[in-house]
Symmetry: C3
């Protein structure tokens, strides 16, 4: 049995001067409130405020990073709680937990390991490294611990020092849970919706036409014409803003942003709505709608976010059997400079417009995103996303973006998480990496410790709060 602990210097650079500066900087940001302007939590968590019931579901089955890494070790999906075992029954929590404990070593070096260690130590109060020998013991201990009130969702919100949390919601969502929470006098936090219209804007969505119908219903605006469709989208954005939304989010396969002439947009829309659109129509409409989304953002002041370049549900058979978000989503090379040119020529200098770029193709940081955000006042670089939300990848992004654009053009950390339980760990890692990055600049006499600390505070708290208008 080996001891589980969290070293106070973890993730800091190890040379004396850098570590000293990192400690000094981190001390000033460690306890700052957490701003979480983009993520994927279920608002129902805070409405019901029920305790988390099962360690395995909480820390394995519902975390597609962990599912991915254990699946890569040869553990079948059903043994991770996804789908039925050969016997027809579902794996129980204890069995799933044993899988994590048996493959603990395979997570070495990954951010999931760092996050899990943090959660197990800080929240679950575990003091022994997971191992097959202690799996049942730790399972029971965590299961019991999860029942305590200080681990309920609202208590975690307080514990993490959250200033604001944000969900991601379809354009047709009624936001009833957000409303319920807003009307609950016992809820002291802030949980804002975020407008994500992909399924009514991407004509390749499998139920695009049906989604347009639903958009018409919830907005009360006839979406059978292109003009109505646009009005309905504007109306939904207004509805979201009325519920506190300050931002929209768009997941797109490419970033082409060529605008169609109005008449052409109408014709393409009509064809796509009838399911008669060509591949060229799909591509053209996607490019046009990105421009439209930017136009609306420039008008209504909602911050526009782009998440680009991931093949989702890679193996269709697995997706059909086990669902989405099981770890089989993979990045590819993406371009920004030439594709965003039409959009940025229209809105890049427009007052009130704000666009945040997220990518999993890190080659774009020094080549495209850094240069672009270093010029356009409207443009900001989101933190390294998804697979890149890891200490060394974050450090590379700090270096590439900071040097090209200045640290003030980075949004600050955005956890983008599906795990409320992990929010504290994720921000802890991000703040440590930020401190380490700035400490290196201090140790090389590129920045004073005072200025580095100011920049860290801006990154950790002030900028995301101001930039996302939360």
């Amino acid at each position: 049995m080996s001891e589980l602990s969290l070293h106070p210097d973890r993730l800091f650079p190890s040379s004396t001067e850098q570590r000293g500066a990192a400690r000094a900087i981190f001390a000033e940001i460690e306890r700052l409130p957490i701003v979480s302007p983009h993520g994927h939590l279920d608002p129902g968590l805070f409405v019901s405020n029920e305790p988390f019931s099962d360690p395995a579901h909480l820390l394995v089955t519902s975390d597609h990073y962990v599912v991915r890494l254990l699946h890569a070790q040869g553990v079948p999906m059903p043994e991770l709680g996804l789908g039925a075992l050969a016997s027809g029954r579902r794996a129980d929590g204890r069995e799933i937990w044993r899988q994590l404990c048996s493959h603990w070593g395979a997570l070495a070096g990954t951010p999931s390991r760092l996050w899990l260690e943090h959660e197990l130590y800080e929240l679950c109060e575990l003091r022994t490294t997971p191992s097959p020998e202690t799996a049942d013991e730790s399972y029971d201990a965590i299961k019991a611990r999860l029942q305590e009130d200080d681990l309920r969702p609202r208590a975690l919100y307080e514990r993490f020092g959250l200033d604001v949390l944000t969900t991601t919601d379809p354009a047709t969502d009624d936001l009833a849970l957000h409303e319920a929470l807003g009307n609950d006098p016992t809820w002291k936090g802030r949980l804002l919706p975020n407008f994500r219209p992909d399924e009514v804007v991407d004509p390749a969505h499998p139920s695009f036409a049906a989604n347009l119908g639903r958009l018409g219903e919830v907005s009360g605006i006839d979406t059978s014409t292109y003009t109505g469709f646009i009005s309905a989208l504007e109306s939904r954005r207004e509805f979201f803003r009325g519920r506190g939304a300050t931002a929209a989010d768009h997941g797109v396969p490419v970033t082409t942003t060529e605008r169609l002439e109005p008449a052409e947009a109408g014709e393409v829309y009509a064809r796509l709505r009838r399911g008669e659109g060509s591949p060229a129509d799909i591509e053209a409409f996607r490019g046009h709608m990105l421009d439209e989304m930017a136009r609306m953002a420039a008008d209504d002041g909602m911050v526009m976010q782009l998440h680009v370049g991931v093949v989702r549900d890679y193996d269709p058979a697995y997706a059909a059997t086990y669902g989405s978000d099981i770890g089989q989503d993979f990045p590819y090379a993406i371009e920004f400079t030439r594709t965003l040119r039409p959009l940025l020529s229209r809105y890049g200098n427009a007052e009130g417009f704000r666009l945040v770029l997220y990518t999993v193709d890190e080659t774009t940081f020094s080549r495209e995103i850094g240069p672009l955000v270093s010029y356009f006042p409207s443009l900001f670089a989101g933190p390294p996303w998804w697979f890149l939300d890891a200490p060394d990848a974050m450090a590379r992004a700090f270096v590439a973006l900071g040097e090209t654009a200045g640290i003030a053009k980075l949004t600050g950390f955005v956890d983008d998480t599906r795990s409320l339980f992990g929010i504290g760990a994720r921000h802890d890692v991000a703040r440590r990496v930020c401190a380490g990055y700035l400490a290196k600049l201090v140790s090389e006499h590129r920045l004073s410790l005072e200025e580095a600390t100011r920049l860290a505070v801006g990154y950790a708290y002030q900028r995301p709060k101001e930039l996302f208008k939360v």
Copy 2:
């Protein structure tokens, strides 16, 4: 008010052994003469030798790196001295200077900040960090300082220890200023022209046909036929060589280098000259002319340089209002291996041919440029260009190129600057980064300190001097 200073160890790695080795290496290269084989200075500076008049124009308005970073902070172009304010008048220097002082923090971490600190401390003798509170005071102090004789252009040439400076000149330029300088017995320096024929070689240039006419005039050779056009180019290269030029430079969007058959080249040229070329003609002619430029370089011994992969004047409306070189030029992904194959198969092993590659797509360093220069005797890797002319990007390029090709296949530092005032700062940064890179190899027992120092001297002085034949 905080003190402005330049730490003697700035930019050196901070661990003890590396810093020690970096100091030792830097001591041997710090005072070497500066060779500047490619840049964008105005030769008139040295002809008139007038003092710089205004701090804001010198350090802000005319520096597109600084304009870019301040514009990204939301400062409108007219407040940086570009175009007229809403009132119709131009911002005066003091107002522009206040913008820089107010956004000083936003430059933290960028190379522009390092260069400015160096220029303000070493040349302007400022001892206080720029801030809004001290903006007027520093403006007045610098303005007065600029009038002193030791900051006039020729004095700066001496002060920086310049061995040679190089301008970049259109193929049709009469080089009158270079000639005037050559005939001035009081001018002790060397200022060489550099042949840049883009506007008569790229058929997409807006005034291509007119430029061909002008080429005919200055060369005295009829350019209405392809044969005449080629002769005129050869004649202009000869003219440039007669004025001291040792190199040519080509800014191209892609590096395709397929040669056309003579008859086809003539037909394509004729169509393009009449403005009747198709997009395919443009592409084919570009590829052909790169090959032709290489052929001439192999014949006449001028060093060929390629600068590739930047969208210039990104937002056409801004370019129309504020001009070029205001910071809105952005890189994209580029390829060398397959596109240069025809050219390198013809001239890559040719005696007398020399080709230098510059890129803003750093993924090509380990994948394409490093491998290619590690084989072809004619080929050299230029230093990381433009956005990559920054300490960490330079360090990455040293590692990627040095490991693949050996340090001797790097050209040495090329400042490529539009700022005479900044040349000392730029070479200081580059030499420090070079020393730091080699110091790491020494500290890891990959090189002896003696060999590392020899390599540093080669990089800082000997190789650019020999390679560019200056």
Copy 3:
């Protein structure tokens, strides 16, 4: 004359804590047996067990890395032993050796320099750094040393602690040398063949049709039909397995893996066999055959390896004059995510399937290979290949892949070498870099020293042995 030595801390990070941890980790892996599951040695070396005769042929002419670097310095191929000198005679070993000694400094910073230093010091017992002044002396000394029995091939096998060696063999090879070695009772080692069917699978191979004929002969199966062709391939795989092969290897220009319908496959095959295939046929057949190779691998359990993205024999004239493998092979950008989707959707989760990806485009490590191997149980990341088989590139790959996929999804080091003489040096460098990478994680409290050491042992020995089934 300067002393040649190998510092015991070479390649370790230089800061105190990291160096200490690196020493501790390296001490546990330095002497582990070497597993070499993929390489390009000539089996005849071990059959004849003749001593190496000439230092220049051994360390220069036959090493395309060294040839490449010296050629880049302007040394003509004939002076490196390739092709005839102008006089018509061949350069002799002493002359070639002088070229290496004269350009020793140009290799500084490259892995070839590290490998050569290791070989010269450890095997040749040289104690003076190569230089023009000592060239003849060192040539004579090494030439004499090479005659000693402890440098014969079989003695080197023992000396390096080799556990197993692997060759790369065409599908039509009779493996007679492997058989001879297997029947030799005095041979104590293990030398396994590796199935490499490129020349019968890639329809762009210059003698594709003839190769199919030869495939028919050696397999005794009529390859005039597609069905026969597939059977013949299966039969050859079985033959190879009978001689100990556990893996197949495929060198492909792209990774498209679309499967053709059986009838279509037959028609395309027929056209290609008759030399009447279109470019589209070539592309389609390549994609189809990658899928077929995966299908066979899933069936017969041979590990599938992909080496992707290199232009071979870049300048056709040089290839015609001097042959292949003279250093003129260059990488380009490659894609895995979208192209491998069909193949991985079929076999990625199939029991018994195992696929190793090698690339010279390091941008794919964090963007594609890391994410893919972090999900698919069948998929592993090969070590950085070829130009990336260098200390800093390896370190970058460790960071990018380890963080995304966990270190357990890296195959371990694969030397892929043509140089028996250099195997010890290559594994020494790789193990040092591995120790240094893990030492950094230890120094930053991301891993305990115990866990890091376990991971190092897995990387250096256990995993390649298990994964490649050797």
